[in-house]
């Protein structure tokens, strides 16, 4: 089995409908990936452990989170890979998640895509992977 190039992390099981859209696009393009559900706020140590391990093989992280969506920022502060954040609409039309993800302080970049727009997170990951030599199957 291939090593996953993309790590898809949800902050909560309830973000699954968005993760599904990410995965669909990754599979359409034959990108090896793995999916995790780890909350930055509720499982900080588990997240730490997973990042330490996965950063050895993952090329791009896709972090999906709603409300005060700290997950993408926390990942970006722990790894050197590009981190893509997908804000999920739970309350406030997703504005809370969007602002939490996109308004990162200088030095810790997160690449935000649209609210609930899992497909674009995957498409962006594929553009990045292609730069790094990955050949998608379409």
């Amino acid at each position: 089995m291939e090593r996953p190039l993309v790590s898809v992390i949800m902050g909560s099981k309830s973000d699954e409908h968005v993760a599904k859209k990410v995965v669909e696009v990754l599979e359409e393009h034959c990108v090896p990936y793995e999916v995790k559900v780890i909350s930055a706020h509720r499982q900080p140590e588990e997240l730490e452990r997973y990042l330490k391990e996965s950063k050895e093989y993952v090329k791009v992280y896709i972090a999906i989170a709603g409300l005060s969506a700290a997950l993408p920022g926390v990942i970006a502060s722990r790894v050197e890979q590009p981190v893509i954040g997908v804000p999920v609409e739970v309350k406030l039309m997703g504005l809370d998640a969007l602002f939490s993800i996109v308004q990162m302080p200088p030095g810790v970049p997160v690449a935000a895509v649209g609210i609930d727009n899992g497909r674009n997170a995957a498409h962006l990951a594929i553009r990045i992977l292609k730069l790094a030599g990955f050949k998608p199957c379409r």
Copy 2:
């Protein structure tokens, strides 16, 4: 010298004008405190270390942050004490910081006060400390 009861943490040196208001009220009421500048996003390990140490003596944390204000939430996920978050207006009138601080997921509470309202963070901390037996000097 007394052990600090309140830890005042800024996410960035530029939040100092708000921290000053916190400190003024704490001093007016003779609350022993300490002030730190540690970014949740840029110095995650230093924050980790400080929290591990300080949670042995600190009773209440006051976290001050702008933009994607992850600091209060990160603290709340590491310690068991009450954490008060002060959103700072940097962009978007402070709405980004307010939403990042107040919209925490269930299980990891942060007590948000008003935008740039350092004074209320201190007043709230004092109310909490009084419950725990602290006698302010006024």
Copy 3:
């Protein structure tokens, strides 16, 4: 029967779905509490009376309100205990309640938690009670 440590006040019967979440968490942790429905705007005198009486035994107030959510602020102006405010989404995605609760003037602090996030109000109350020596059953 134990004296209630937490007072849970709704501004309106229609906020009950949020109060329920508060109560669930309080019960899970064996925190003695009492629940009231009193509108700051429609029953100011009843509120006054209840606060005068309850402030003798209550340690933390949790006030739940929607729209122009004056309840938490009114309580905070009458008692010296910590007051936690839970904004309820009725109109404007709950932004009206959030702003009314969090943007308190300096000197009268309210601890705001997320929109409809009754669970975090309870969790925050428990953190505060633990500081004051309370031992939750879990």
Copy 4:
């Protein structure tokens, strides 16, 4: 000296620039008035006392407040006269004050005018007073 028909109450000394606009229009139309600075949150008892007394002679209340602007609503819950609320821009472009003033629960009406628009509060008061037989001097 004439009994004041209009009571102009500011929540804070810092709302004076708006109160001034109210007073200008009242004077242009020879409406007898009085001006008070009383915070709903910081001086609840003083407010109570003043309302009990003034409601014997005041015909219309104009309440000016920023941030979590509880003042107009508190007045409306204590007196039977029409209460006009003027939201003041302090933070969030005045949206916090506007929402706090206008989104009152059913049964306790406040008449909101525009942000910082003291002149319209006075003009509205005059329209109401004219219905009640008052003859403005122009």
Copy 5:
């Protein structure tokens, strides 16, 4: 039959659910009223005619409108009576209607009540009518 004291005008037939709440409260208090559906934008001349006629007997106008809610402002610019505006939620959570109603230019006051809050429009009208000597039946 009594002369109507309150004129309730909807901008559109689709605002009827809000007008109904106004009427309920007026009837509970035995206030004589009449109800019209006239669009400020689509029937300007009809509105003009109705206002010219009704201003001879109406004491308070209640104007209900959604979207770009010009109706209350147009009425306020034609009559000298107090005009109460009720913003209706059609799009944008009713913010468009709220802003259109409340942000009137100095000199042409409209008394805004909460979004869809027909009941408060009626309660406010009754407070005004009582000043003018009207005795509600409760």
Copy 6:
């Protein structure tokens, strides 16, 4: 002297900085125009008179207004020509004016351009005039 093809109407003298930008572009393209300051809310009859007269020769109306910007809508409800509305930032970053202008009810169209964007109002007018056979000088 040529008959004006474009009528530029400001709701208030204070909108002049935006009207200036309209006029600059019109002059650059040699479009005959006239400029008026008439408030929809404060001078409804004067507006009525002017529209009755001007609609005989004007091809396009450009209405500039801030706050509750009723002017463009009122014009659109009186004339059959295209009406362009320019929202002016006075309060709320111009959102109040934008919503008042753009959210017109079906049947009474206004063409909204960007906040304070007088230049685009003129450019849009020129595109429309060219359709009608007008030849700008550049």
Copy 7:
């Protein structure tokens, strides 16, 4: 068969419910039109081709788009005819589409109408066409 005077372009098949309202009004007034589904972002070349061809006979473009609604602006930058943009509510209550459409840079005007308000786009087009000599059947 008549040459279409109005081109109605949707950015996506899912905007059809809005296009339908445009078409209804155009048909009521006997305006010859054609309807296209072309995404500015996903089919830039197809759009380019269509515009090059259609600008020879089309008088007014109506572009319907949601989210980051680039379509109206792209058309306005390629043709000299008036372009009307209709923002569609997909996320964020349509504010994203409204802002994308209305906040065009100086020099490239788009005429925005209300969110999902296809009827007004058609009515505006008809006003423009009448200036150019078109006689609607009603």
Copy 8:
């Protein structure tokens, strides 16, 4: 001289203060880059030409734009490289630009960073380049 790996494109000369921050970070890390000022709306053909040429050597595009910020999306629809969008605050606190950039339709991804946050655009570009084998000098 080295081939530029990053293309920094501003939509307008007035976005230069943000472009400067991008360039500072790129230079600190010795990333070869080129800077262009091309408006998506006003110079569509020039943009087309530049993209056709530059996509042969550029690895990452950074597009900086305010208002209706179509630039990043247009680039993303023409090239296969990752495109980073930086919203610039011109009006509406930059919300218009943020929404235009981040709310792209599925299939055409743009990586949004924070408002005016040129530094993070550069940091994100560097993370991506490192994946592709680039060695920054620090």
